[in-house]
Amino acid sequence: MYAYDTFDHAMVNARVAEFRDQVERRMTGELTEEEFRPLRLMNGLYLQLHAYMLRVAIPYGTLSADQMRKLAHIARKYDKGYGHFTTRQNIQYNWPKLSETPDILQELADVEMHAVQTSGNCIRNVTTDQFAGATADEVADPRPYAELIRQWSSFHPEFSFLPRKFKIAITGAKTDRAAIKWHDIGLVVKENDEGEIGFEVLAGGGMGRTPVIAKTVRDFLPVQDLLSYLEAMLRVYNEQGRRDNKYKARIKILVEAMGVEEYARQVEAEWEKIRHIPIDVPEEEVARIKAFFAPPPLAVLADDVPAVDELAGKNFIFKAWLANNTGAHKVPGYANVTISLKPHGGIPGDASDEQMDLVADLADTYSQSEIRVSHEQNLILPHVAKKDLPELWQKLDEAGLGTPNAGLLTDIIACPGLDYCSLANTRSIPIAQTITERFDDMKRLMDIGPLKIKISGCINSCGHHHAGHIGILGVDRKGTENYQILLGGSGGEDASKAAILGPGFDEDGIVDAVEKVVAVYLGEREEGEEFLAAYRRLGPDTFKEAVYGAH
């Protein structure tokens, strides 16, 4: 993991002092709320329905056990004993007091964490593959580049007041687990024919009321040019992105309006002009950062562990957990474990302080003290020896963290919705809870297979409904909560926009509709065909008929 040096420490400490001063000036009235707003947002502090909400960055979703303990401590001391892991690999606290937020930030700074730029019209926390550095299918670990971007984008003198928020995601694997095509900038680490590492660069993805899938701006960007190229991309956007209408201010609108070729042309022209300026960091700096992400020294172990097979043979739940919640590691004899934060009937992404502490302890024992957060709102223990899996699973299961549903229908992404959010049309969490209760049958879930449901309480799309195999969108229908169903979206390397199937439902109706969609799939699927593939083959009509009846 990256470790701060004196410079990084000085920077976050300065930021805490600055924020303390801003909060004091707001409390004395020297700053108006209008002036305070962008300042607090750049520190991740939102004003929500009931209280302030603090969003803490978990850069590229990587945490140490000690950092997790600190998050648990903050949940206990400053909040109501829980935190909410988000689709952008962050954690949100829903009940901090304004006057205490500087203390929270200081506690975070003590463990090399911050809330810098987790909100506001600036470059946000860079997200990546939750299995980065540990998965068998990657070209290179993307996290050193994410850290380079984190530093370059922090307190950027020119790009801290952009037309709108700006989200960058990077993947090092062919299987895209970071939804990079749904980001303002997406980066894919790749190797060219000469065996050099670089990036495919995409731009203009985004959700909200105008969902757009990012387009390729450059096929191959050498690694040493990353920051100057990003600088050119941001400059063109900062200058020309619309500022007259916040719904048209994201880079996706600019790229659509000028065309990706013209955008790319302007970026390349600007990049040629700035390549000589030392924006990109020296090679030694890349090497310094890379060294922090060196793979842990794992002794190769046997891939077949009889004790694991034995338990799987007699315990179906463990068997399901092995199948769904563990994935291939780079090193034989190891696995990456997904800890589901989606217990059936529970709140997606929430974890209590005790659960966070337990995960920290388990990370110390089983995963090199390392923890990841996925954009699907789960936690990951990377580098777990396969022989430890039975013991680990038992401990997780006892703490309510053993739900074996990763990647299945009940592994639902849901935004906070009307339970917390002031922009919401509808509740999201209770819909997730009802669906997971309705499908609370592991055999049935395993039979249905991979299926991603994503729920947003309004068109802002914090719950990624546009990218759901089944998306659910809360709309306001004459003052009552109404839910639309969308089908066929994907956040993966085969990204696609989900399409609305038809008129919306009330909160019972939407759950019935999901069940009917699943029934159609089960009836129509071909041997081994997953839900998304079946939908793409069948098209919407078969589903429409089942959900809305014959016309």
Binding site: E158, S160, E239, R243
Partner: protein, 169 residues
């Protein structure tokens, strides 16, 4: 109004030229960019020193025609969140090697002091009661993650220089 001096430059004392007025002989005047783009050579010659008032709708390539004729630039922020003002200053320094004073006017706030300095601004027009807050904000950060147009070298470079290694250890 107080003038906040970010860089220690000798600030320009100028008057804003009225729309239909011509500059008096040897005067120091600030003139909207649109008018300067139409102005004849004689206009620049008669005034002692001319500065451009640049609004944030301005495309940077419009600066090309005047950058070497003006002595100072006044970038007018309609709102403190209008980040185009920062890019305009960067463009003046970077693309046109502009060495004169760049001033920020409009509702910029003290918490932006370092961003302004680092984007290439020299001075800011601010309400009197904000002077102290501006000056405090300037002192806030000990180092920066980017090489910038105010002369700062990024931490990434400092880390690998001899001096930086002394500091980091």
């Amino acid at each position: 109004m107080a003038l906040i001096n970010l860089t220690g430059i000798q600030p320009t004392e100028f008057e804003v030229l009225a729309d239909d007025a011509s500059p008096s002989e040897g005067a120091t005047v600030a003139v909207p960019l649109a008018r300067l783009l139409e102005a004849e050579e004689a206009f620049f010659k008669s005034a002692g020193s001319v500065g451009a008032i640049i609004d944030t709708e301005t495309s940077y390539d419009a600066l090309a025609a005047v950058a070497d004729k003006i002595a100072f630039a006044v970038i007018d922020f309609p709102a403190f969140g209008d980040g185009r003002g920062f890019s305009l200053a960067v463009r003046l320094r970077k693309d046109y090697a502009f060495k004169g004073e760049i001033r920020a006017v409009g509702p910029v706030i003290p918490d932006q002091a370092l961003f302004l300095l680092r984007a290439g601004f020299d001075t800011v027009d601010a309400a009197d009661e904000r002077k102290a807050a501006f000056e405090a904000a300037l002192e806030r950060f000990p180092a920066f993650y980017q090489t910038d147009f105010g002369g700062q070298v990024s931490v990434a470079h400092t880390r690998h220089s001899a001096e930086g290694q002394r500091k980091a250890s």
